[in-house]
């Protein structure tokens, strides 16, 4: 045997383990020494390349100096075995401990190189996306159609909807949401009055703050703000509930015994939120105007009587009709979107969070887009 100086010594001093290579003819003998502990030493990723740099035909091992070892040694040996296989170098496990040989036997060759197949090309991805979008649109339309049909059936008593479910959902989407709806609308009314007071005072038209707050809240802000609150509060909860039920196979359990999922889970939620939104809107209008009055009285010294008389002159049934129509549509939109998102969620814990986020985002964007369409139509119709 021709002893050669060690080619490399891998972090031997501080890591407590090492390897040296002795080349004899066509064979390189890898001498393993010391303790190999993964958690503290890690894996020497360059070792395989360094060892095979000696261009030999076979690798053998001498593990007589080996101390305690764990997966650090196995990782080292697997990388070396894969690199040797790639380079056509024979890998003789004979000198390794029996236990290490058993573990090497568990791992298939070239395990480290296993990688996912490449994704489909761009054109395919666009096509797949379009097919998905079309399917989603179809399913959304089916959901709305179902809602009309089953809702009609339910009104005639022909659907399996329990009154207690609807009442519970109505409480949750109505009375339970009232404090936050009142707080936000009160502040929004106050904010509108502040903006108006600052500008209108310059023209001596401070009293018109009542017009601004009245029309602003009734036509626009009460419905919009209430919808945004309900999208975050109730829409997110609907999506998370349904996604969690999907993940726990609760929805499959309903389907399996023939309980119509739509009647039992979707209809009460959509009915409750759609029915409660106009009521919340009316509360929102009232406290918004009250907020405006407080700010008007404090900054412009407008009396309550003058404020209400002025506001009443600016408002008509059309404004309230428009606001009520908006709030009804927003309620239905939020409930339908959130339930749809919840039902198509994946079956994992992470899917619940994703579903809640998507439902809130989709609902808010949807509500604002729908609001813009309402305003466009109102403008064209001159109301």
């Amino acid at each position: 045997m021709r002893p050669v100086p060690p080619l490399t010594l891998s972090r031997s001093a501080e890591a407590g383990h090492g390897w040296t290579v002795a080349v004899e003819g066509d064979t390189a003998r890898v001498v393993l020494t010391g303790d190999w502990v993964a958690r503290t030493d890690g894996v020497d990723l360059a070792a395989a390349r360094q060892i095979l740099a000696s261009r030999v035909g076979a690798l053998t091992f001498d593990a007589r100096g080996l101390g305690h070892w764990d997966s650090a040694l196995i990782a080292f040996l697997l990388r070396l075995r894969d690199a040797a296989g790639d380079g056509g170098v024979a890998f003789d496990e004979g000198g390794l401990p029996q236990a290490a040989r058993r573990l090497l036997g568990l791992a298939p060759r070239a395990a480290a190189k296993a990688s996912a197949p490449p994704g489909p090309p761009l054109l395919d991805r666009v096509g797949l996306w379009a097919i998905d979008a079309a399917a989603e649109a179809r399913e959304g339309a089916a959901l709305i159609g179902n809602l009309v049909l089953r809702g009609g059936m339910a009104m005639r008593g022909g659907a399996a909807v329990r009154a207690s479910d609807i009442i519970e959902a109505m409480f949750d989407a109505g009375a339970a949401a009232l404090p936050i709806v009142i707080t936000v609308n009160l502040l929004v009314g106050g904010i509108l009055a502040f903006i108006g007071a600052t500008e209108l005072r310059q023209f001596g038209a401070g009293l018109y703050v009542a017009n601004l707050v009245g029309v602003g809240m009734v036509r626009e802000m009460a419905a919009l703000m209430t919808a945004i609150i309900m999208a975050g509060r109730t829409g997110g909860a609907y999506a998370a509930d349904l996604a969690a039920m999907e993940g726990a196979e609760e929805i499959d359990a309903l389907r399996a015994i023939g309980i119509p999922v739509f009647d039992y889970l979707i209809l009460p939620r959509v009915a409750a939120l759609t029915a409660m939104m106009p009521l919340l809107y009316l509360f929102g209008c009232a406290v918004g105007i009250l907020g405006g009055l407080c700010v008007g009285a404090a900054t412009l010294h407008i009396t309550a009587t003058a404020f209400f008389v002025q506001a009443r002159g600016a408002l008509s049934g059309v404004e309230f009709g428009l606001g009520l129509a908006k709030s009804l549509s927003f309620g239905a939109l939020i409930a339908i979107l959130s339930c749809r998102v919840g039902l198509r969620a994946g079956r994992s814990a992470a899917a619940v969070g994703q579903a809640a986020t998507s439902a809130v985002v989709a609902s808010i964007v949807g509500v604002i887009a729908l609001d813009a369409m309402f305003d466009l139509c109102a403008d064209v119709l001159g109301v």
Partner: protein, 277 residues
């Protein structure tokens, strides 16, 4: 030339342990030792407290009384920092895998190393890949847990349990929910990993085939008397123990209607027939 070796003595020494929740005692008066390098079974009928005992052993549930000595050190007498250090010597496979669903399989295996070691990213990635290849999931590192089959979830959970090269591996119903072939493969894998890494394995199971195939020692818990009614290797309990409940369990028979036999009857009492290996 053994894998990371143990100090002398048993890996786990359970002394007069009582477990339960608040006032409710699930099991009491438990005394047994888990020898280093053995595969130790916690057996018993459903609802007898097997998984609760495993939770006490791996530090998730404080015992009502008694002591759990991990390599000679009283686990629950140690302070929180020390317990966290001891915990790193445990690997746990939960019954349903309990993979973190927001991460890929490879990230699940890598997270313990990222959080609890100071290794560089490349080393962690390489070690995670090795653990996955050892359990036969070399191609599945990029998959999300939701996309795995039941058998793959168990294997991925096992790879994660191996992430820190634990001295003691705790398995909660490893073969539950698997078909007999997949269950057998998992048993073989557990044996190979034990022999390869020289780990000690504590396993909760009521899968008879699996218990008989791989366990060297064990304890049999009874729900009615709330204590251990037999100790020893499952094969030996099957062949030699004549406690009616153990006999019925080990032979898949209907249990006797009056199973009020004295705990410890016929030499099946705690310690009486303790047969390491």
């Amino acid at each position: 030339m053994a894998p990371v070796s143990a100090p002398e003595g048993p890996r786990l020494d359970i002394r007069d342990l009582s477990i339960g929740f608040g006032q409710k005692i699930i099991q009491q008066g438990l005394n047994f030792q888990v020898a280093a390098g053995s595969i130790f079974a916690i057996m018993g009928a459903s609802g007898c407290g097997k998984s609760t005992l495993l939770k006490a052993l791996n530090g998730l549930l404080p015992p009502l009384s008694g002591a759990i000595l991990v390599q000679g050190e009283d686990y629950w007498a140690a302070d929180e920092d020390r317990r966290a250090l001891i915990d790193r010597g445990f690997g746990v496979l939960f019954q349903n895998g309990a993979l973190w669903s927001s991460m890929t399989v490879a990230e699940n295996v890598a997270l313990p190393l990222i959080m609890l070691s100071r290794l560089d990213r490349a080393s962690i990635k390489a070690l995670a890949a090795v653990k996955l290849s050892l359990v036969g999931l070399e191609g599945a590192g990029r998959a999300m847990p939701a996309a795995l089959s039941g058998g793959m979830v168990k294997r991925a959970g096992l790879a994660r349990a191996l992430a820190l090269d634990p001295a003691i591996l705790m398995l909660d119903e490893p073969s539950a929910g698997l078909d007999p072939i997949a269950g057998r493969r998992l048993d073989d894998l557990i044996l190979e990993l034990r022999d390869g890494f020289g780990m000690t394995i504590v396993m909760v199971s009521h899968d008879l085939a699996s218990l008989l195939a791989i366990c060297d020692d064990g304890v049999f818990l009874d729900a009615d008397s709330r204590t251990a009614i037999a100790h020893g290797a499952p094969r030996r309990l099957r062949d030699e123990c004549d406690h009616p409940l153990v006999h019925a369990f080990m032979h898949r028979e209907r249990p006797p209607i009056d199973d009020g036999a004295e705990p410890g009857a016929s030499g099946a009492g705690p310690g009486a027939d303790h047969v390491p290996r």
